[in-house]
Symmetry: C2
Subunit: 315 residues, 2 copies
């Protein structure tokens, strides 16, 4: 339904079994890539979800371990036959960075649009592409961002998949909506028949809970993150250091320990925490899992190409 | 003695078992990197030759598959503790490309010097670094370049390891060189004693054959390459296409088939041909080996982290 794969779970330097930061969302066949560190293309090739269908690339910040792979990937997407525009979202300064990197990917068979430091981006998911739209009401995915506390301009992302309300037959009858309009109204159209206007909300019940994914790397665990990630179905968070004893390094380098990430997860009341962005000095992140689970039980230590599937839950 | 490792043997896109173009020379502990495609750092980490000792980076051309990994590698070299300057050599335009890519590696703890399109670079190999020197006579390695025929400005490289002549006792006596000067003169010094000047060539015999490595990618097999690679101990050459039937693609994309590379090897009278830069469409380059060996018997199909050791041969 709404799948996310960790493509690379390393921070700093790429390792033989741990490529650098990147994750890939697959929603109805369309893709959103988050970050693009070295190794992203290799991991994508192993995963096999394809290159051509990447419509949106969200970059957290301009440090090499999150963006080195971008120009190569843009070229590969070009070679895959894409001609539809692609949108890159990122923090303040991202345009300069992307333009700098594109010195080696100047000519692409598709347009690249850059959105710098937006608070919100609405996405409409069509069969053959996913596009940025102005109108909140017709969006299938809403991306919210927040500026976090790292040594570069850095954005946290939240992806909220909207879920249409159920068709409510009683409500349709109450509103005297002719039966032949039900189907079109349910699809979101507004219709005028014999001088009377019929709208979608005349036939649909209450909004239903969608899917919420939040993505937070690289940053210190600032207070505002708790509200930002509130009630997420999945909270993907950096855990650069597993060992509690590395707290001084975490503070100095503006990162988090597993325990800090797990505390955010608990206080933000998320359903599940997935840790990523491990320091190259940490050979076996799993061995520090207890530092996360003791704060927040439903914590998972990520690894390259771990896939999580998120589904709508009927309430 | 003079070792070279293929770090990545792919062209175009990085593959799970075939990273993009890069090779690493190790000479007396100091390193020269040639090209830096995606995956270079990962391959270097597996190889284990270290990052800090990379003194020179030679870039053939500015296509992504030869240079995407550069800014990340420069950062990693910085993290390894290097403070000595590092020199990047490349074709016309390389400075603009390196500066563009450095948008994500602006602050490094060492200086980066760029030499654009030199015909020749002389390297002196010291214990703790390898530096560019003006004086031909004191160089340990001479790099020659030639412009080749690709769809971007592109340089072929030749690395000639110089070998000091043997001490010739008869010659020293003939030239009436005092015995106490022999050792210093052998080391390359020029001395003046009692108004008489003594030079190195008063005590050394004829020059001895060194080591010659040539490196040619990406290009069509133009005539001048034969003279450039003449008598190389090892000729590393692109073989983007194994199948003879792909000759039209090779011409169109300005690359070579295995057979074309092997023909250059034979006509350039090299000792050994090592093929690299395989198209991602070629799953098993080894299966086309015969197209090379039938032209030039001592042909080897490269693979990631294949190491060749070249030694001085006593004549």
């Amino acid at each position: 339904m709404f799948d996310i794969a960790l493509l690379g779970t390393g921070g700093g330097m790429p390792m033989p079994n741990r490529y650098l930061s990147a994750s890939l969302i697959n929603y109805r066949g369309r893709k959103i890539l988050i970050d693009c560190g070295e190794g992203t293309q290799v991991s994508m090739r192993i995963l096999g979800w394809g290159f051509k269908s990447i419509d949106i690339i969200c970059i957290t910040h301009g440090h090499g371990d999150h963006i080195v792979g971008l120009p190569g990937l843009l070229a590969t997407i070009g070679n895959s036959g894409r001609t539809e525009p692609l949108t890159i979202v990122g923090p303040e300064g991202i345009e300069e960075i992307v333009n700098g990197l594109r010195v080696i990917a100047k000519y692409l068979p598709y347009e690249v649009n850059i959105i710098e430091n937006p608070k919100k981006v609405n996405l409409k998911v069509n069969k053959d592409n996913m596009v940025v739209v102005e109108d909140n009401n017709i969006s299938d995915i809403i991306i919210n961002t927040m500026e976090v506390d790292h040594s570069a301009n850095c954005l946290a992302y939240k992806f909220s998949v909207q879920r249409q309300a159920k068709f409510n037959i009683e409500k349709a009858k109450e509103n005297n909506v002719p039966k032949n309009l039900w189907n079109l109204l349910q699809k979101g159209e507004t219709l005028e028949v014999d001088g009377k206007v019929y709208t979608t909300n005349m036939v649909l019940g209450d909004n239903r809970k969608g899917i919420k994914l939040s993505y937070v790397t690289d940053t210190r665990p600032i207070e505002d993150i708790k509200e930002f990630i509130k009630d997420s179905d999945l909270f993907i968070c950096e855990g650069t250091y597993g060992d509690d004893g590395d707290i001084d390094k975490a503070i100095k380098n503006k990162h988090m320990t597993f325990r800090e990430a797990a505390t955010l997860a608990r206080e933000g009341k998320v359903k599940e925490l997935l840790l990523t962005h491990f320091s190259p000095a940490m050979i076996e992140p799993e061995s520090f899992a207890n530092n996360a689970t003791s704060e927040f039980n439903n914590s998972t230590i990520g690894y390259d190409r771990l896939v999580k599937e998120l589904n709508f839950i009927d309430d």
